[in-house]
């Protein structure tokens, strides 16, 4: 009996059953993927950390170190299994040149290490401990991922040549979120380049019993040992390693929650319509003494079949996408060795989706209990409550076309019914607009001033060469006489030591020159103008703990000088750690120099770039657009991709939900449709009424969605943007895209879906439907 009932029911509503199955499959697939990813990620991280013997406790330290005191502490602490002090040579990114490109723009603190002897090994991609020969360099895996290096590339470090022999996994610093990256070289080579950077110490311990970690931490701190730098423990290493892919898993889970919600909406729609359809029958079944649970079974059966088909489909689909998503985990952490466990958790995830659907259907079916047999048999329908819209009288309407009026009025009269579709449209508008605005904002030309780049046309960079200041002067002279250059400025970057809160010294890069020519955006304060002014990038200000008006002590030519922080700006260049000042200095080494110029005729940019590049072959000449695309082109591209994907997903959801909703509505309203047909309204009239409802909900939805996008969305986007080092942020809206194109796309999607959804109006026969 169940088989026939289910078959007939599904054949009658093919489209709706299919859409429901699609959503269930998508939900099952996503949950399954998330489960598989979690198992693989944790498994792979555990394997890596076990192979590499990651320290349980690590104290980073810069400055003097008293190794004997540390040894004595170790001997007196019974919990210490192993102890070592590693050196980490911090070298400025500008001095590391891989295959002709320097790492000056790298946001990482790049440095060098030798392989350790006891634990905290740097591993190759097969999980083996690497032994670097002289002249060989092993590069962190992240530079393989972004294509910055490949095996056989030449690497120059402060002039010394190396060859990339392979890539390494670093159980401590693998993650892009760990701000340091270790390159591995041989002991001899390390000794050669030691003078070119600053040495940091990694004081590392492995304990006999990891559960005693916090007791050990306290003991270390209480003894007053070396502690000038962050302390990182085993669980924190684990978290840092997990967080990037963890974020992806979180996004997948979020999306799957959305999809599950949509699947639930689909099911609720279909089920309620079906109950309404069968209202009298249900009453009869109750009247002849069937138990509510028996009646529920009949309806539940169909959803057991739908959910089973969807879940199996989703599980199968998860195999297709699994490899793609696991690629990153495999690259960074290697194999997890727990594929059968992953499969088990995947199946559990799918089962959870299945059970959630059955529980949900069961919950919706609880309303059977409320159906009174007598009422159902007598009236055949639930006595629907209609509220509101009393003031909207057809008799008082002379302005709006009757069909549109009836459509809009119905939305007011049955607000609760339309709330679901409204919510979906608001969310869809939000999902479309926010990423679009974000993309517009970061691709607008003025945005670069948010990022520490002045708004010029042409940029010449001089670095890794000698006599930088003379070469810069030579270019400046040429610019002075070049009539097509309206203004230019020479900015010189040098490193200086500054005094930190603790009285220690830290090196920062300060860009010297006239910062008023091509100003950047200061979110606090202003550009440096006087000799004792200094402006800090947001990250530097944060790390040094300085605000506008504070003093900062800088060591210039061996003498301490107090400068006043005059402004704070956002910066994404040079790892976000920069400063700007105008004082004169002839002492410190010039790290690099850049010359920015504005052209009278913007169309000349390309020809000027080649002209200057030919003439000054020691400088890197770029148009500002090119410079921007090099600096954060990948970010822009991925935001663009995400924005396009968001549009596609939101439109798909809009179409499917509208289609489903309209189909349901027509089934639900067939009595009213029959009545107005009987009284002389044509099929087109009725379709117009449904279109009016859809468009009305859509318009209100778009308005609310846009408002939310520009308030809540801007805040959310600000959080994302701050990851780039940009602190103050407002949407730069492209009105054509946001207020015309996006709404038009949605209107188009909704219109198409509604027209298809209500096409069944023509098949509703008056004679069969006019009796309630």
């Amino acid at each position: 009996m169940y088989y026939r009932l289910i078959r007939n029911d599904m054949l009658k509503s093919k489209a709706i059953t299919l859409i429901t199955i699609i959503f269930v499959a998508a939900a099952a697939m996503l949950i399954c993927l998330a489960a598989v990813l979690v198992v693989n990620l944790t498994g792979a991280i555990d394997t890596l950390m076990t192979q590499a013997k990651t320290p349980h406790f690590m104290q980073m330290h810069s400055g003097e170190i008293d190794t004997e005191r540390l040894w004595s502490f170790t001997e007196h602490n019974s919990n210490v299994d192993q102890f070592q002090v590693l050196e980490f040579l911090n070298v400025d990114g500008a001095r590391i040149v891989i295959d002709g490109k320097s790492l000056a723009d790298s946001v990482q603190d790049n440095g060098f290490s030798t392989q350790s002897e006891k634990f905290d090994y740097l591993l190759d991609l097969d999980g083996n401990v690497i032994n670097a020969a002289d002249g060989e360099i092993y590069v962190p895996i992240c530079y393989m991922k972004d294509g910055a290096a490949k095996i056989g590339d030449k690497v120059a470090i402060c002039g010394k040549q190396f060859t990339v022999a392979g890539f390494l996994r670093d159980s401590q610093m693998n993650s892009l979120l760990a701000s340091s990256k270790r390159f591995l070289i041989s002991k001899n080579d390390y000794a050669d380049i030691k003078g070119f950077g600053s040495t940091e110490y990694l004081i590392e311990f492995r304990l006999k019993d990891l559960s005693q970690l916090s007791a050990f931490e306290n003991a270390y701190a209480a003894t007053g040992l070396e502690a000038n730098g962050p302390t990182i423990t085993y669980p924190l290493f684990k978290t840092i390693n997990a967080i990037s892919d963890g974020l992806m898993i979180a996004v997948i889970l979020l999306v799957s929650a959305l999809v599950v919600a949509i699947a639930f909406i689909c099911i609720r729609f279909t089920l309620l319509a079906k109950i309404e359809d069968d209202y009298r029958q249900i009453g009869v079944m109750k009247a002849i003494g069937l138990r509510t649970s028996d009646i529920k079974k009949i309806y539940l059966a169909k959803y057991i079949v739908t959910a089973t088909v969807g879940c199996i489909l989703g599980f199968a689909l998860s195999f297709i996408f699994r490899g793609m998503l696991l690629e990153n985990i495999r690259l960074y952490f290697g194999e997890s060795g727990s594929s059968s466990l992953a499969l088990l958790f995947g199946i559990i995830g799918v089962l959870l989706v299945f059970l959630a659907i059955i529980a949900f259907v069961s919950g919706v079916l609880r309303r059977f209990r409320k159906i009174s047999a007598a009422e159902a048999i007598r009236f055949g329908t639930a006595q629907e409550k209609t509220a509101g819209a009393k003031h909207l009288r057809l008799s008082g309407n002379r302005l709006i076309d009757t069909n549109i009026f009836l459509g809009v009025r119905d939305v007011f009269a049955r607000k609760r019914l339309y709330a679901t579709m409204f919510a979906v449209l608001v969310i869809a508008a939000f999902i479309i607009i926010v990423p679009q605005n974000l993309y517009n904002t970061i691709s607008s030309k003025s945005f670069i001033t948010y990022m520490g780049i002045g708004n010029c046309d042409l940029r010449l960079d001089i670095q890794q060469t000698d006599n930088i200041s003379q070469k810069a002067a030579e270019i400046a002279k040429t610019m002075e006489s070049d009539k097509s250059v309206s203004k230019y400025v020479v900015l010189t970057t040098k490193t200086f030591n500054v005094k930190t809160e603790g009285g220690l010294e830290e090196r920062i890069k300060i860009e010297l020159g006239d910062h008023s020519v091509f100003p950047v955006k200061y979110y606090q304060g202003r550009a440096p103008a006087a000799k004792d002014d200094i402006a800090l990038s947001a990250i530097n200000a944060d790390e040094l703990g300085k605000n506008v008006g504070d003093d900062l002590t800088v060591v210039i030519d061996g003498k301490q000088k107090d400068l006043t922080v005059c402004g704070i700006y956002s910066d994404i260049t040079n790892g976000g750690k920069t400063a700007k000042a105008v004082f004169n200095d002839n002492s410190a080494d010039i790290m690099w120099c850049n010359i920015c110029a504005e052209l009278l005729d913007k169309s000349l940019v390309d020809s000027k770039v080649s002209q200057y590049a030919d003439r000054f072959n020691f400088a890197k000449v770029s148009g500002i657009d090119e410079y921007i695309s090099q600096t954060f082109g990948t970010t822009k591209d991925s935001v663009k991709k995400a924005a396009d994907a968001a549009v596609a997903v939101a439109l798909l959801i809009t179409v499917l939900v509208t289609l489903l909703f309209m189909k349901m509505l027509v089934v639900k309203d067939r009595y009213s449709i029959a009545v107005i047909k009987a009284f002389g309204f044509t099929n087109q009239d009725i379709k117009a009424q449904y279109l009016a409802r859809a468009v009305f909900i859509l318009i209100v939805g778009i308005i609310l969605g846009t408002l939310l996008a520009n308030t809540l969305g801007e805040t959310l986007a600000g959080i994302v943007i701050s990851q780039l080092g940009v602190s103050s942020f407002n949407f730069a809206i492209n009105p054509l895209a946001t207020y015309l194109l996006c709404p038009l796309m949605m209107v188009f999607a909704v219109l198409i879906a509604t027209i298809i959804g209500v096409s069944a109006v023509g098949q509703i026969k008056i004679s069969q439907n006019i009796k309630e």
């Binding site: 009757t402 107005i676 309204f681």
Partner: protein, 252 residues
Amino acid sequence: MKKIIIAENIVKFFGEGDEKLNVLDGVSVEINEGEFVAVMGPSGSGKTTLMFTLSGMDGIDSGKVIFDDRDLAAVGENELADLRRTKMGFVFQQPTMLKNLNILDNIILPSMRGNRKNAVEISQKAEELMKRTGIGELEEREITQVSGGQLQRAGICRALINNPEIIFGDEPTGALNSKSAQEIMDIFREINADGTTIMLVTHDAKVAAQTERVMFMRDGKIIREMRLAKFSGTDIDDRINRVTAKMQEIGI
């Protein structure tokens, strides 16, 4: 006299294959302008289906229906809708009102299509009709706030709002008590006296007895007709007796 409906040998089936049912089996009917007709018969005899086919709400499988000089088979969906709206009025057994609209809006609905500029005139006309049918005070009421008899009067007002040439009634008194039923019949008689043609489908001999011509149906065929004089409101018992006698005679 002009014939408003001419139906020739109409045949209609429900269902398909083994379950195919011949609901109308060669029915021919003519209805004159201004006539007051009743169709009687047991459940399943095809009387409601006959009404649906004569009004163009349901198609036929063979035969011909001429309404107001037009062959309905040759008229498109939209024109059929126009015909129903402008030339026909319908009153059903259940009130068939839109639940979201109040009484007045339900009544003016058929008149408002493409005609919103005349909303005031249409509303005035509806109010007059409501007064005439005795529900003049109810225009602002929701349909759940009035009695079945009052709703049926509103239904008649709606049927009359576009000055139709004919009103079709499908058991219009079937859901009412006898007092309300008689009041509704009195209204129908008045409308008919003003010149509107009326065709009622009914079970009730008392309803049929107040019309001028009664058609008896069984198994999809009109098996007998009887003519009555125009009802003046006095000799109802005698007329009922004649109708029931005829029903007994033909065995329905």
